[in-house]
């Protein structure tokens, strides 16, 4: 960094430039997908209740004993329980982060790599 105090930043005029990466990615994906060939879709059986089927799948209900027409699906009960915990955790974490601290700075821990001290000592950014 030649001039002190200048943080690396995205250049204003060229801020769309990295977007080209996304375009390139799309190009690659498109080429691949256009080459794919598909058979006939299996589709859902007539009269099947998709919503109900999703429900059965979600709770691993043994659809064999049901009389109605269901669309088969893998069991998601584990995922369901897990997602409950995930949301729990997300709330827990989000709330913790959002809380305002009353007592100012936390502890004596300096987890910024000692930069604060260094900057204070040198009187500036490097």
């Amino acid at each position: 960094m030649s001039d002190a105090g200048s943080r690396p930043r995205l250049k204003l005029g060229g801020h769309l430039l990295p977007g080209l990466a996304a375009v390139a990615l799309f190009a690659v994906l498109a080429i691949v997908f256009l080459q794919a060939s598909f058979g006939e879709p299996a589709g859902f059986p007539e009269g099947a209740s998709i919503t109900a089927s999703i429900g059965y799948a979600m709770f691993n209900v043994d659809t064999g004993i049901l009389s109605e027409t269901v669309v088969s699906g893998e069991g998601f009960v584990v995922a369901f329980i897990l997602i409950a915990i995930v949301l729990d955790v997300a709330i827990d974490g989000a709330v913790f982060l959002a809380k305002r601290e009353e007592d100012g700075r936390i502890g004596g821990v300096l987890a910024d790599g000692g930069r604060e001290i260094r900057d204070a000592l040198r009187g500036g950014d490097d």
Binding site: L29, V32, F33, Q35, A36, S37, F38, G39, N60, E74, G75, F76, V77, V78, A79, L82, I83, I85, V86, D88, V89, A90, D92, G93, A94, F96, L97, K99, E101, D103, G104, R105, I106, G107, G108, V109, L110, A111, D112, G113, G114, R115, E116, I117
Partner: protein
Amino acid sequence: MEPLLMQADQLPQWTALAPALALGLTGLLLILIDSVDPDSSRPALLAGIATVGSLASLGLAGWFLSAGTGQAGTGGGISLFGDALVVDGMALFFQALFASVTALVVVASYDYLHDHPHRAEFYSLVLFAATGMALMAAANSLAVAFIALELASLPSYALVAFLKRDAGSVEAGLKYFLIGALSSSVFAFGISLVYAATGSLLLPDVYAALSGGVEGLTGVAAVGILMVAGGFAFKTASVPFHFWAPEAYEGAPAPVSAFLSSASKAAGFALAFRVFVVGFPLDAGIDWVLLFQVLAVVTMTLGNFAAATQEEVKRMLAYSSIGHAGYALIGLAAFSGGAGGDVLGASMAHLLVYGFMNTGAFLFVALAEHWGVGRTFDDYAGLASRAPMASVAMSVFMFSLAGLPPFGGFFSKYFLFMGAIDAGFWWLAAVGAINSALSLFYYSRVVKALWLNDAVGEFELGSTPTALYAAIVFAAVATVLLLPGFAPVIETAQSVATTIVP
């Protein structure tokens, strides 16, 4: 022990999830306590509960492992909930690893967070993340894999940003989160493409559908597999999804860095091993062995070379952690079908040893942060004269990370290289060797600073943090004992790894 072992066999099947449950329930208990008593001033209680929970998980996993639960001797992996989960030897092996690291981190954090108000959140987040990891190890479906991965990731983001008044911590959290979000999107997209190509999310079904290639959909499947690999690359801090790692490890509270770089990384590998070995056949349109070879070489080289020139110990460890991800990738990079279990097992064993030595190393950094001695190599100069025990432990970690005897890291690394050579990829081992030599250089810088350099000034070290010290010493002892005691580790790892190879 015999009756007890018998009993493990006779328990209901779902109890095989007990190690994960123990972690999850402890997490919930901690949230409960926190909501009942938000300003709890009883840190010992919280830490104690968390410790007990993780140790219970460790005990259960260990018990099951020695009882042979889910292993070939007792009828193979236990499939649960419509095959969404499978508890087998490998799952238990990794769960034991996660529980060990969690226990160490939890104990160490007791001192690290000595006057921090949000302990309950901290412990609960750690335990939930551990739960996620435990389930990652057992996931047999891409759906569960994804959700478990998120369960491990989301608390981690919060944990990295735990010191929310600290710019470094927050910045680290932000970067971790952003790259994490990107990666999980890539992962999800990959899963959707795999589903598009196979119509299934269950790994064995995916395997069956992909075997021999899918007519017309090879490209879709291949892109999906590659994107799934990207998701794992993020979790394991492998190139090119590693960018979060140096900052996250450096900025996060040191125990969290330890947790992430040891347990979280191992979880990524646990999942990757199972997903790729069980789910993606080698002829599925993409030569994923070659993919992991590329990733392994680039990752270990980048990690080690960047680590060599760092000035701060913690950041050096961060890069070294990337380097070690490269080593562990050899498990997949040298995978060769039927005989691949051996190198996979070597990789697992390496991750276990790495769990101890790397956690220990970060905990030593935590100790240094606790004492406020600074972060650079120079700041550590002469520390050995003030803290000999911890310095011995740190030296053990460093030499072990570098792969020197008489420490556990020696065997694990060399068995990895052996595995690569055995599979015919001697050049992979050669690259590993070059990197290993370079790593010796920068690891020994720490040792040099501790023992050989003279202190610049006087250290004003406070009281000795007993819990932190205990965790470090325990990790060191484990690292040393894992050399003579490597036999059960490697033998277990290789035997359980062999069973998942289809």
